[in-house]
Symmetry: C3
Subunit: 406 residues, 3 copies
């Protein structure tokens, strides 16, 4: 019996600030992440899914036509994952369930491989194989079975090389619900119940060794984008797109409907060029996603960046940056991605800053921001929605929502 897939897509996403969009609705390759998740479930041949979600997602879901799967939606405002599942208890009934988290993206083929353990297991969790220490829950195992979760162990104290990834299967979810009901509602209600269940029953571990990305902080959009870019192994140009014979395309590239690539434009894949996007002359796009309706005007370079819908660039350099939507930098404005002291850029928020991984990080810009000509935005800077920046400004600290920098 195929399980009901329970998709948790209701997080509020405080840490996603300054971006305003509900993170599971962020479009990548022209579709919200939530749609990608649903399509992954469909493709893996599941027939029913229950989405525990928030009103904003619900609104989008009400307009969405799934192809070959029955979707049911519960709008919830849960306190943690345990609470979310308990609110869905009635809808689940006695069916086996596979729980997945809409902000965790894996290679879609992984879901298909779960069919076999589903047939043979009382329950399992997924162990993401990981080499370096990350801030997450590590699986404690014994003879290949899960016996506990250790939250955020310090480096060297990891109980295994596997992190708990929410692709969890329970053939008899009532067992879990019964335990959860006895534990007070809290952020870790689910993990506590799961640990108790592990003591009572055999919970297997399904290892996962592929690519993975999770949207927590806004710069994770870049990781998520890279996962999608990496997974795409096709070249496709929509029939309605117009590609100048004087443009150069190289590597895996998707060009969506009605896009226009002008003479002298160069696209170095992997890249996605969305619907109605215009790539102007002498522009270079590399390892980037340009969402619907954006214009990348003359002489711009967009490298390893996410350009959300309806943005209008004009001779800009955008490196390792996230533009939510409707971003309008005028000619010459530059989004720098390398600190003068060579240190890793930090994510600069209005009241704090956050460590990041790499040597290169550009700007994180929420929707509807306008820049005058020849501005420079320093590495790691975040800019709030609706901000306006006058010409020739150097922006080295976070800009608040609707702030005007003169």
């Amino acid at each position: 019996m195929k399980p009901l897939v329970v998709i948790l897509a209701g997080g509020i996403g405080k840490t996603f600030s300054p971006l305003k969009i509900n993170k599971t609705l962020l479009p990548i390759f022209g579709k919200p992440i939530l749609q990608h998740v649903i399509e992954m479930v469909e493709t893996a041949d599941f027939h029913e899914a229950l989405i525990v979600t928030n009103p904003e997602n619900e609104l989008w879901l009400s307009t969405y036509q799934p192809f070959n799967i029955t979707l049911q939606t519960i709008v919830a405002n849960p306190r943690g994952m345990g609470d979310a599942l308990l609110q869905a208890r009635e809808s689940i009934g006695s069916r086996p369930i596979l729980i997945i988290n809409a902000v965790d993206m894996v290679e879609p083929s992984f879901l298909k491989t779960l069919m076999k353990p589903i047939q043979n297991s009382y329950g399992f969790i997924t162990g993401l194989k990981i080499k370096r220490n990350i801030s997450a829950g590590y699986i404690k195992e014994n003879n290949g079975k899960a016996i506990g979760i250790v939250e955020k162990p310090t480096p060297g104290n990891e109980p295994s090389d596997m992190v708990n990834l929410i692709f969890h299967y329970f053939s008899e979810p009532e067992d879990l619900f019964t335990i959860m009901n006895k534990i007070p509602t809290s952020d870790d209600q689910y993990e506590k119940a799961l640990t108790e269940l592990m003591a009572q029953r055999t919970i297997d571990i399904v290892p996962y060794n592929g690519s993975w990305s999770k949207l927590k902080y806004p710069h994770h959009v870049l990781d998520m984008m890279n996962l999608f870019l990496k997974m795409n192994k096709v070249n496709s140009v929509a029939r309605s797109a117009i590609v100048s014979p004087h443009a150069v395309l190289d590597g895996f590239i998707i060009i969506d409907e009605n896009a226009r690539i002008d003479a002298g434009a160069i696209i170095r894949g992997p890249a996605y060029i969305g619907k109605n996007v215009k790539i102007g002359s002498h522009t270079l796009i590399r390892q980037s996603v340009i969402e619907e309706g954006s214009i990348i005007g003359f002489g711009s370079e967009v490298a390893r960046s996410y350009i959300g819908p309806r943005s209008k660039l004009h001779h800009n350099f955008v490196g390792d940056s996230v533009f939510e939507s409707d971003i309008n930098p005028s000619w010459g404005t530059t989004f720098a991605n390398w600190r003068i002291d060579g240190n890793n850029p930090r994510l600069l928020l209005p009241n704090c800053s956050i460590e990041t991984d790499g040597k290169k990080l550009g700007s994180i810009i929420a929707k509807n921001v306008f820049f005058g000509v020849n501005c420079a935005v320093m590495p790691g800077v975040t800019i709030g929605a609706g901000a306006k920046i006058y010409p020739h400004k150097v922006i080295a600290v976070a800009v608040c929502e609707n702030e005007v920098v003169k």
Copy 2:
């Protein structure tokens, strides 16, 4: 009997400031506007023209060889159009006349169509068909005949949908002169006399429905340029021009003698590339006119702009702008064309500002202006002749003649 064509080309053009050039001598497509007017008259198969003009035009006319028309010139400093005509009275004698104004440009084919009404009419004026209210003289008509001119009616109070355009024919000009002589010299002496003549004789109206442009304010150079670009329906490359096989030409483009188009240059017509002009690598020219001897250096974008003779650009963006001549913006200097508040740019003069039509307007720059690197000139700004702007300046207000901005 073919009429004598009386070309009025003597206006002083105060409103053309900050541009210094006599507006009928402004070169477009490599020729002064006055030459275009003369050629239009020639092409329409008139045989004689009388030009009432000023000393500067006279100087140019003395060097000009008309092809197939007899030109006579009167140098005048008239007070208004009536005065100009009266000063030409003796030279006109008793011949029928067609009066045209050298700053009104129409589609050249229009002039040919006037031959028929000339044969059949005592006199006529031309009615420019217009849809929206403009600040001009509207024709009052009765049964297709002109019975008056209403100056600058408020919207909704226009007596017709036709504006008085100076393509006026009089088979017996002495009738007009006699009336004018009784009216004191003034700006509207001609219009008053014309109205009186309408009461005495039948003045027909020849409607004109085509493109039209008039040089009044300096940004009208763009309208005039657009008229020429629109009218050109040929592609031509002079035999002495050198076009790199790695350049891209698209649309109607005229490339004049000894011009050089380098590898990687892109010209999107309509466009005119003048004599000895150099278009550098990775430069984009669209819907623009580049006059003789200018250099559009590496990586520039010139959009919907008029670049007068001997200007030297180098990696600049020039949008919706007028460069009179000998303008030298250094690398990175930008002429912005869109206000941060989205309002229509106003034409910013030293002591006043003037409303303009569109969302986009760049700069109006008089001759001999130098900009250092990486300056930004805000929308609508005018810059006086001989100004010098130091590097990295943001110019948001008018710059006076010979001003140095440090």
Copy 3:
């Protein structure tokens, strides 16, 4: 008997500041100038050379494998050219010598033509034919023989049209050494001895009419580079280099091993592209040398400039400039080469400035300098090693070593 070639390569080069490199080790076309000199001597079929040099050159020489010549090295810290030769006296012994100066570069073929006068002469000096007055020693002649050297004559007082160039031959160098030993050690000890020798014996003059360059001030690197570019008459692309089919190469160009030329790059020769160099998309290189490991990123223009090893450009304009090595200008930074007042740029050092020849001169930048985005460096400015320039700065005066400009 072929003479021993004595190569003087020990100068300290105070005037080469702010550049740090020993000037005979400056790489051009991927090889130190000293190597070019040695190869020139080899190619001219000399069999033995003695290099009087400093410890830094010695270190490089110890790693260098000459092809077909025996090299001997003397490490000296001489006070002038006479002292240098006297320190080499013992190593020279009684062999005839040809003295050459490693910072004077001539056309390599010249050296071959010296074989004949070597066979027929007691001794000769070389007379560089020169048209305008330069600050150097002019040869006084009598019936084609050298009878003296006049140091820095004022214009109009030159004793001949020939400047003393150090390609000097002595069949019996002991005669010279004997005289030198009687003269106190000083800067002009050699010239004094030479003049005395001219009185005793016949010293011929070998005229030289070809190209010549001498490294004295740091901007002379450009003259030296131009000499090399001019002398190269081959096109060569290393087998391991990758040139995009969408790149454009025009003129004499050498592309060295493992270089990569991206789509949309344009190289207008003469030019040298060193080992492992990357020329990015939409970049224009003309009349320039790019040394090993440098990256000329997207949309840059490098004109008539020397870019030393491991520099990283990104959308910069570099005109008539010298970048020693490891120079990192961020996006949009511009090295201007034309003064706003049209005067010749002076070389701007921390405590003085030096007159230069041409209308165009860019920047002279010592090693390890970083620029933030959108800076502008004014013509003639020198920048010391290790300086850091923050974004959007206009640099109009010299920057000292390790200075930070915020």
